[in-house]
């Protein structure tokens, strides 16, 4: 078999346990089903397979219904909680609903309700019947999920539901549904696999059959199912392929389902007991791959493309290695260290900042000590301050001291510590003191010794790094800003001349070792390079940011002119980098800061629902961002067909590649109606590398006014979809 027997047995046992637990009644009475003889005929086996298959399917179905029931109950409970929550909110401030007495006297009484009794003595009782006026129902609303930021979804490969639009349509226009299904290549969600044998079922089937089959053979439970079983399976389910295929499939599935064996690419938890000593790349692998440099989140739902950090430039330590030893036991006292260090520092001498740092460091030391005397909680006191350069400057001069009291030094290096050292070594280089402090259980001498050991089988980090980022080493003086702007305006002019109105989605460029020239994807798409690009800070194609002191709401501001919001990392003069929203003077950060107006929902004066402004707004003020699912243009075409039929669409063109669809997910502004004489306008802006739709006031709008914008004139002036022109008498 070529497979370690003992391992498989363990796996099988585990799987069986799992199966037993999940469906107790399934393995109820295997004995009476089949007479267990070694000379089982092929036909018997097939029969066993069939009966087992039916049994398993039934139990699976049962399990499924149980799951659905549980989910339903869970939902009921959640709804109940929500209702209670809502009621408690309502009770909080005093409020009495206004009771309007029924005014029925005005309506004429046309009918009477009488009760006559057979007993003569009882008088006839009568009550006037009054017709109640019919109430106007609120417009219908399809459920949608609230969203405050766009959400990228993938194209749907199957049609999730066949839309119901009334019986009339189905009768009249049968071709529509057919066409719709054709768009999805005939795939509709919920279509059953023809064979009805999915992977899980297959696995369970093989196992249960093999247990029955091998019942009488002593010690046979511990072996891999015999080939006979697979042969029989292949005959029962011919569409699954030959017996060899089935065998391979079974093996793969076994591996996948085993909880005790980790997949080879998964590193054990570094905080766990099984932590292993692995290279740096492996330790950081999941962090590197999942972290979104643009959202600062792991596995974000907005940016499918994530650059790997190996090519990114890092913020190098502001502080070089302290020349002073950290204490009496410092590794610097080790004989042979000094000579090495001198040669190392020679190479750094070219760097002027290095010198400055050195002269500063003693001051930093004293300050750090002072902080320590202040007590342990001092670290958090800066947390409420504004961020930005101010904070950075502060940190620069501060040295970090750890509470040393409870530090236990252990002699052995655990796997976790070894991995951690490799991770930290790249950051701190030869600053073993700092590494030791972060490692907690080691002193710098140990770290130094371990580093020497490591050095022998690791390539030189410094040399490697220098090759990777050539611009860093040169480190030219910063170009004067005027020159940057001259270049920039030239480029803008060129852009205008080219006279192409299309706007492409921004994707960070990644071409190591090359400048951003005509082959760069940013240049080709006529986008600026952003801070997320892999090119250097001095890239020609970068947007330099603004230096406005004002509010950045006129065309004087280059950001405003370029239909961009001010980048907090580029534009610091206008205060876009302020942490506290109240302190920002810049008015060009509304979308990123989510500084929207309060909107209220009510039945529209025009059609369906409408959205109304709570507080008045001036001209050009930001109202709200138009949020929704970001879908590809193809997907929008497919969805648009359905929306066209519904005469209701929330599609909004974002750029050449993507469309925002607020049908399923969105925010309140999705209820804004279309008008040819609108009071709002939409603008697609580049906000920190993303295109986002801002809705702005076209004129000053009073409180309580309904908001309209012109659906037709999307930002890209492409008429994607106009439901029905609801231009009532608003002309």
């Amino acid at each position: 078999m070529g497979f370690p027997n003992h391992m498989i047995d363990a796996l099988e046992g585990a799987n069986l346990k799992k199966q037993m637990a999940s469906s107790m009644e399934t393995v109820g009475s295997p004995e009476k089903c089949v007479p267990s003889t070694s000379s089982k005929t092929h036909m018997d086996l097939k029969g066993i397979i069939r009966s087992e298959y039916i049994r398993l399917r039934r139990s699976k179905k049962l399990k499924h219904t149980e799951q659905v029931k549980a989910l339903y109950n869970e939902n009921c409970r959640k709804i109940q909680e929500d209702i209670e929550d809502h009621q408690s909110v309502q009770k909080k401030p005093e409020f009495q609903s206004f009771y309007t007495p029924e005014i029925l006297t005005a309506t004429p009484v046309t009918h009477k309700c009488e009760v006559t009794s057979a007993v003569k003595e009882l008088s006839v009782q009568s009550v006037p019947l009054r017709l109640m006026n019919s109430l106007k129902p609120i417009p219908s609303m399809y459920s949608w999920a609230p969203l405050q930021q766009n959400y990228v979804v993938e194209d749907e490969t199957v049609l999730h539901n066949i839309p119901y639009m009334g019986d009339d349509l189905l009768e009249k226009d049968t071709s529509f549904i057919e066409e719709l299904i054709k768009n999805y290549d005939g795939k509709v969600h919920g279509d059953k696999d023809k064979s009805m044998l999915d992977d899980e079922l297959f696995l369970n089937l093989v196992q249960s059959v093999s247990t029955i089959y091998d019942k009488d053979v002593p010690d046979s439970q511990m072996t891999f199912p015999e080939d006979k079983i697979f042969e029989a399976m292949a005959e029962v389910f011919p569409e699954k392929g030959k017996s060899d295929n089935l065998k391979h499939l079974y093996r793969d599935l076994l591996e996948k389902n085993d909880p005790s064996s980790l997949p080879p690419e998964c590193t054990p938890n570094i905080d766990g007991p099984n932590a292993m000593s692995v290279p740096r790349e492996q330790t950081l692998h999941s962090f590197h791959t999942l972290f979104c440099r643009r959202c600062y989140k792991y596995d974000c739902c907005l940016h499918p493309y994530r650059p790997s950090p190996s090519k990114l430039m890092r913020k190098m330590p502001d502080k070089k290695q302290e020349p002073e030893p950290c204490g009496a036991d410092c590794f610097m006292h080790i004989v042979g260290y000094k000579e090495k260090e001198v040669s190392a520092s020679d190479s750094e001498k070219s760097d002027k900042e290095c010198k400055n740092e050195r002269s500063k460091s003693p001051i930093g030391m004293t300050k750090g000590k002072k902080r320590k005397n202040n007590g342990t909680g001092s670290g958090s006191e800066d947390s409420n301050d504004g961020l930005g350069s101010f904070m950075k400057a502060k940190y620069k001069n501060l040295d970090i001291k750890y509470p040393m009291k409870s530090k236990k030094i252990t002699e052995e290096w655990t796997g976790a510590e070894e991995s951690l050292f490799r991770v930290l070594a790249e950051m701190y280089r030869t600053n073993y003191c700092a590494i030791a402090k972060l490692l907690w259980n080691k002193n710098c001498k140990q770290v130094y010794e371990f580093a020497l050991k490591e050095m022998t089988h690791l390539p030189d980090l410094d040399g490697d790094d220098n090759e990777k980022t050539p611009p860093r080493k040169i480190k030219p003086k910063k170009r004067p800003i005027s020159k940057v702007w001259a270049l920039h305006s030239k480029r803008v002019q060129m852009k205008k001349d080219s006279n192409i109105k299309t706007v492409s989605n921004y994707v960070p460029c990644d071409h190591p070792g090359m400048r951003c020239d005509d082959t760069c994807q940013c240049v080709m798409a006529q986008n600026f390079c952003e801070k997320f690009c892999q090119c250097s800070d001095e890239c020609q194609n970068r947007f330099p940011g603004c230096r406005c002191k004002a509010q950045c709401n006129t065309k004087q501001c280059p950001c405003f002119l370029a239909v961009r919001e001010c980048d907090p990392d580029l534009c610091q003069a206008c205060g876009a980098d302020q942490f506290d929203t109240d302190k920002i003077s810049c008015k060009n950060v509304n979308v990123q800061r989510n500084l929207k107006k309060h909107l209220l929902l009510a039945p529209s004066d025009v059609a369906g629902w409408g959205i109304f402004l709570k507080e008045s707004s001036d001209k050009n003020e930001f109202i709200s961002e138009y949020c929704g699912e970001i879908i590809s243009q193809d997907e929008a075409d497919r969805r648009g067909k359905v929306y066209d039929k519904y005469m209701c669409s929330f599609l909004f063109n974002l750029n050449n590649d993507f469309v925002v669809d607020a049908t399923r997910k969105g925010n309140k502004i999705r209820f804004a109606n279309h008008s040819v004489n609108p009071n709002c306008y939409a603008k697609v802006m580049m906000v920190n590398g993303d295109h986002r739709i801002g809705i702005f006031a076209k004129r000053s709008i009073q409180s309580g006014e309904e908001l309209f914008f012109d659906y037709r004139y999307g930002p890209t002036e492409q008429l994607r979809f106009v439901g029905i022109e609801r231009d009532v008498e608003m002309i």
Binding site: P146, D271, P309, Y402, L438, L600, P603
Partner: protein
């Protein structure tokens, strides 16, 4: 409605000439709106919603113009008031103080025997101070004005039926003059008291010997006489000691706010026997009381009367009789003031003339109504020579007003004006686009406005908006605007701004309560489902270990909570993460994972090594604190 009947009559005449179906069609087209407007007219007469004269296009129907409103300023209210007051004080101060002069002619009583000659009169003045809050008898002041002696039945024998006039003109020498020494100051502000003159007349029933005898003498002398007299006259058991009979009368000089100030002139005052109040009633007296109610004038014959001449003077001596009675003068002051300020007469008259000049030629103008129906193929005409609306008979007086009225008040019709050499032609067609929906303030329909007060204290109400003043720019009146079909006027669409509707929640479609209006359902940056989704997505990974997963979930939720947007926020973010979730990190045992996360951020160029060190130090401090407090066992 007369006009309608007229139309019908006219129509019937035509029917005889033409086809009956034509009339049928006409009625079919115009019956419904005409009925509605007929009903509305009647309703308007009974309970008008507005007054025609207040409409801008009906200005000429207004009898009082508001020219002075134009120059009116709220700030000037006080100064205006002050001016009025000062003026009064400066010009009329001296004359405001008046003195009361009473000339008492005599007491007349037919039942008195001729030998009774004199009566003593005690005059007092009661000033009643009326409090502001209803306690009317708060201040009561009695002032003794004086005493006088008057003859009883003077000239009884000489001029029996001469009446008062002759008496007033020829003052007999015997009359007594009493002047009230305290002046009456008529201040407009001070009108919270009323003044009553009290006259007590004591008649000595014993005949006096002479006219000029002193009071004391008289009383001593005529003691036995009244005894007899009274016993005879009134049939009462009068004690022997009684020698005089006392009558009293009250004369209200003025009431509160100087109402009904007595004018100068001759007065006959009916006297009442004051003793009767205290004596036991007998049948005769009762009957006399009953009689009085039947005929008041009889009383003058039967009861004793006091004749007196009352006049107001400017000086205490009573020489200068004031020309105008004080009441007039209080009134007059006001009237003159207003007339002076407004210049009412001078300005109104030319305008009236102008209006008349305009309206006179129009009166002759004929207005021909042409009712078009049956897809404007048929027509009926109706000519009238006044400017009354054919549906609600409002006299509009001017052609412009008429047309405006028709357009605005009878929107169920399309009104088109066609100038004609002799007058005007008005084409009337049915307005098919008429929208009969509710056109009023929508907040009157919604009942969620709520009370401002509740038993348990104030409650929140929905804020509502009303238009208090609306002054749109009005075009000058021109008949041309009626020459073309009406357009939807956009200005009139959104007069009422503000929150005039019931709002609904976005998530449940339930009505929004007033106290919830300020809560924005989109306030939270990340909805719950998105948080859960991100957690689920992380959980789905197979090649990520549980420590990493845990950290990633925590970090994601942290980022979602604060919505970080910039690289420069990352140091802050990692530190606040430790502050908020430090304990959790330690309890879950993912401290090293957090360190790796920080290194990862460094790899992406978001934080500096310094920040990594600082943040970790912070975390280790938290761990130390926890270890110290014994919440966790020492880390391995």
């Amino acid at each position: 409605m007369k006009s309608k009947k007229k139309e019908k009559e006219k129509a019937t005449v035509k029917v005889e000439e033409n086809v009956e179906a034509d009339l049928e069609k006409f009625i079919q087209a115009f019956e419904k709106p005409t009925r509605i407007y007929r009903y509305l007219r009647t309703r308007h007469l009974v309970s008008p919603i507005f007054l025609q004269r207040n409409l801008t296009y009906m200005k000429h129907r207004r009898s009082v113009n508001n020219l002075k409103r134009r120059s009116f300023k709220v700030d000037s209210l006080q100064t205006n008031k002050k001016d009025i007051k000062n003026d009064k004080h400066s010009s009329n101060f001296s004359s405001v103080v008046k003195y009361l002069k009473l000339e008492l002619t005599g007491v007349y009583n037919s039942q008195f025997s001729p030998d009774v000659h004199e009566a003593a009169i005690d005059i007092t003045l009661n000033k009643v101070q009326h409090g502001r809050k209803g306690d009317s008898q708060q201040g009561f002041k009695q002032i003794n004005v004086g005493k006088a002696k008057v003859p009883v039945n003077p000239n009884w024998n000489n001029s029996s039926l001469d009446g008062t006039q002759s008496d007033s003109e020829n003052y007999s020498p015997c009359q007594e003059t009493v002047i009230c020494k305290d002046g009456f100051s008529f201040k407009p502000k001070d009108g919270f008291h009323s003044c009553i003159l009290n006259l007590n007349v004591t008649c000595l029933l014993k005949p006096s010997l002479s006219n000029g005898v002193t009071n004391g003498d008289v009383s001593e002398h005529d003691e036995p006489q009244p005894k007899k007299r009274r016993s005879v006259l009134n049939g009462r058991s009068i004690s022997v000691e009684e020698e005089s009979v006392t009558y009293s009368a009250e004369l209200t000089l003025y009431g509160k706010q100087y109402q009904g100030v007595l004018k100068s002139g001759m007065y006959d005052l009916v006297l009442q026997d004051s003793a009767s109040k205290f004596s036991t009633r007998d049948s005769r007296w009762d009957s006399s009381v009953g009689k009085r109610s039947i005929d008041l004038l009889d009383e003058f014959g039967s009861s004793p009367t006091l004749k007196l001449y009352l006049c107001w003077t400017d000086d205490p001596e009573g020489n200068q009789q004031c020309k105008i009675p004080p009441c007039e003068f209080v009134k007059n002051n006001r009237i003159t003031k207003y007339s002076n300020f407004s210049g009412y007469d001078s300005e109104t008259s030319p305008q009236k003339i102008k209006e008349e000049a305009q309206s006179t030629p129009q009166k002759k103008m004929q207005v021909t109504y042409m009712f078009l129906y049956n897809d404007i193929t048929r027509q009926q005409t109706d000519t009238r020579d006044n400017m009354r609306c054919p549906w609600c008979t409002v006299n509009c007086e001017k052609l412009y007003s008429l047309l405006k009225h028709l357009r605005l008040c009878h929107a169920r019709f399309n009104i088109l004006y066609v100038p004609m050499p002799k007058g005007a032609r008005v084409d009337v067609t049915i307005n098919d686009c008429y929208d009969g929906a509710y056109g009023g303030n929508p907040q009157d329909l919604n009942s969620h406005i709520g009370f401002a007060f509740h038993r348990l204290g104030p409650v929140r109400r929905t804020s509502i908006t009303h238009v208090m003043v609306y002054r749109p720019k009005r075009q000058p009146h021109s008949l041309l605007e009626f020459c073309e079909p009406e357009k939807e006027n956009q200005v009139s669409k959104q007069i009422i701004q503000g929150h005039n509707r019931l709002y609904y929640r976005t998530n449940t479609c339930l009505p929004l309560q007033p106290q919830e209006v300020n809560q924005d359902s989109e306030d939270e940056v990340t909805p719950n489902w998105l948080c859960q989704k991100s957690v689920n997505l992380i959980d789905e990974f197979t090649d990520v270990n549980e420590g990493e997963k845990e950290l990633m979930k925590m970090w994601n939720l942290h980022c979602m909570k604060y919505a970080y947007i910039a690289d420069c926020q990352m140091p802050q973010a990692s530190q606040s993460f430790v502050e908020e979730h430090g304990c959790e990190l330690i309890e879950k045992g993912i401290v090293k994972n957090y360190l790796i996360h920080l290194v990862n951020m460094f790899d992406f160029g978001l934080v500096t090594p310094d920040i990594v060190q600082r943040t970790m130090w912070q975390l280790y401090t938290v761990r130390d604190d926890l270890e110290m407090s014994g919440q966790i066992t020492s880390a391995s």
